[in-house]
């Protein structure tokens, strides 16, 4: 039982990271109907930004209180990836907005290749290990819960609340939802559609940056290829939860995290990704629009 709960905790932590990345996928998909393949690499970029900021802090001040360091890392990583995604959207996706649907997908794949290789060229191809930032572990009824895990789950919960508030209760969120429902009508009613889409990309990237920082803190290592697998899994999470739905993305992320850690705990670790992808396939076969997705009504 304790073992099970332990795995549950681990799964929730991992799932939070996937969920944060999945939101970026699902929002962009919802608003312009495009699979932003480069989002996983934005996540990796966020992790690298956090790493470099941490090294700067270390170099300038010797040691910084870890809470402050984390805060600065997250903040700068968010700004950084936000700027990157803003530029990427403007240069690679916006010119193709009126084009056929595969065109932005191809530029997104190209962007994903370019971003990961850009980091390889500028930062080197080797693993980047960092000393453990947070190492305390608490014992709660026989279950080991590390401070890292608490931070990850807490930060995710706080961000999701803020995010949920923005989408549901601010003029910006209203503009986003309107653009999502009908871009042309939204534009006719005076919404700056281009700006709304840009902001959506920036928001998604900022959440990915937080996830990247958390990933760096949790695993203590990052490498330029780290965007792909978590990216695909987060996309899987978004699809599993029903792409376009925000709660779905979080739910999908948590599910993927749980499946992964429970499978590794009770079966072979080698096939954990196979299990994740198989469950995705099975769920979609029985419920083709994902768990919380609205079924598409086809009009003839």
């Amino acid at each position: 039982m304790e073992y099970f709960v332990q795995q549950l905790v681990n799964g929730l932590t991992l799932g939070s990271i996937y969920g944060l990345v999945a939101i970026g996928y699902t929002m962009v998909y919802g608003i312009i109907g495009m699979v932003n393949f480069a989002h996983g690499d934005i996540f990796m970029l966020g992790g690298f930004a956090a790493l470099i900021v941490y090294l700067i802090l270390l170099g300038l001040f010797g040691g910084v209180p870890i809470a402050l360091a984390l805060f600065i890392m997250i903040l700068i990583a968010m700004l950084m990836t936000g700027l990157w995604n803003w530029v990427i959207e403007k240069m690679a996706y916006r010119p193709l907005r009126g084009s056929f649907r595969l065109a932005p997908l191809i530029t997104a794949i190209g962007m994903s290749i370019a971003l990961s290789n850009f980091i390889q060229v500028t930062q080197g191809p080797r693993n980047k290990p960092v000393p453990p930032l947070v190492s305390s572990v608490y014992d709660v009824f026989g279950i080991a819960i590390s401070l890292k895990q608490i931070i990850i789950v807490l930060v995710t919960a706080i961000l999701l609340t803020i995010f949920w508030y923005i989408v549901n209760h601010t003029p910006l969120g209203r503009a986003q939802r309107a653009t999502e429902q009908d871009r042309k009508m939204a534009a006719l009613l005076g919404i700056d559609v281009d700006k709304t889409i840009s902001i959506t990309f920036v928001m998604g990237a900022a959440l990915a940056a937080v996830a990247g920082t958390m990933y760096l803190m949790y695993y203590g290592v990052i490498v330029f290829t780290d965007g792909f697998t978590p990216g695909v899994k987060a996309f899987t999470a978004a699809v599993l939860g029903g792409i376009g739905s925000l709660p779905g993305a979080v739910l999908g992320g948590l599910m993927i995290g749980l499946i992964e850690s429970l499978w590794s705990a009770y079966f072979t670790i080698d096939y954990k990704d196979v299990a994740t992808f198989s469950i995705l396939a099975i769920v979609l076969i029985f419920k083709p629009s994902g768990i919380l997705g609205r079924p598409e009504v086809e009009k003839v």
């Binding site: 193709l96 065109a103 794949i109 962007m111 930062q123 290990p129």
Partner: protein, 463 residues
Amino acid sequence: MANISQTNEAVSTNLMARALREAFYAGLVALGLFVLFVGLKTDQNILNELILVQRWGLLAIFVAIAVVGRFLTVAYIRPWFEARKAAKAAAPAVEREAGFVTRNFTLLAVLALIVYPPVMVGLFGFQGSLKWVDNFGIQILIYVMLAWGLNIVVGLAGLLDLGYVAFYAVGAYSYALLSSYFGLSFWLLLPMAGILAAAWGTVLGFPVLRLKGDYLAIVTLAFGEIIRLVLINWTEVTKGTFGISGIAKASVFGIWSFDVSAANNFAKVFGLPMSSAYYKIFLFYLALALCMLAAFVTIRLRRMPIGRAWEALREDEIACRSLGINTVTTKLTAFATGAMFGGIAGSFFAVRQGFVSPESFVFLESAIILAIVVLGGMGSLVGIAVAATVMIGGTELLREMNFLKQIFGPDFTPELYRMLIFGLAMIVVMVWKPRGFVGSREPTAFLRERKSVSGSFTKEGHG
């Protein structure tokens, strides 16, 4: 008169002011983008700790490029393009007769390919031609075959498949395993790999019949990853990440062999000096023949009811179903036919390399093949072949850029930038020509006279 020149002056100073302003902003943005990633480099010191290396000079170069590039774009390049566009619009449209090369492009291309190996041998000698025939010729032809196979699924039937590399892997591994465990010959295994891959295409196609668009895309991606992961982890059979090496070479229909020790070695029989170039040239022609076969089958299939059903399915699934087309068999045949070409290309890949490992079947390969299909202007066979040549040949050429070492110093390795440039090229080509290199295709069904159809009529994967 004076008035006009004054306005002109005002416009140009205005333009300059705007260009300067935009250049300034571009510089700021570039500074923000690159300050952490280019200005600083994480490196390990002797104690294996991460340290930062400062590279402000490089950062300054990046920012300067952004500033100058933006300035030139706004001040000169964009007005020039607009002027050209206006001039074009003003001039009466002249119906230009298609030139000899355009009209006979396919024939000329095939002829060029047939004389390609002898020409290379003539230019570089037997040993020198290896690189050109193998790295450029054979590799590009394999990608052409793969892209033509995927074209059936994505370009004709409109099913977005992101896991196409799975069938490539099935073909390669079925050749590698069956030949090393059972000693079966290449000529038996080539069709068998195609059949096996087609069977896998049908098996994987079944569960996804209900899925559409991006859901289909992600499930096919998942299947591709599952197959790769199984290949990595099923070590008893596939030897995992070590891969299978020492795969038997192909022979000329069993008559002449290319094994050095065999009695009927090709070079020995004809009394030629030993060289591995003969084998590569043989493989080149074999690849060419397989490509021709794939093209022939595709062209024929498109004229058959099944090919028309694919295209109907791509255009509108509901209309297709109400006209009595069985969408289940239509989708499955598309998956199976596409997979078959992938499998044949895979077994050919295995015989060419003599070594297969899961490394060769990552998602990136699927992405590259899909990019070739889309950049080639989905549905157009010639366009796809051109796209494969440009993208694969172009990145291979980057390996040859050794003269750059003289400019940037001996530490400069152009190979490192290969995939970076590949990714950027994908973006640039797509933004510049969203309909691909060849934005038109020949229609299969037409009224009275054959007219070429603009690529914008090619819809894509709605499932």
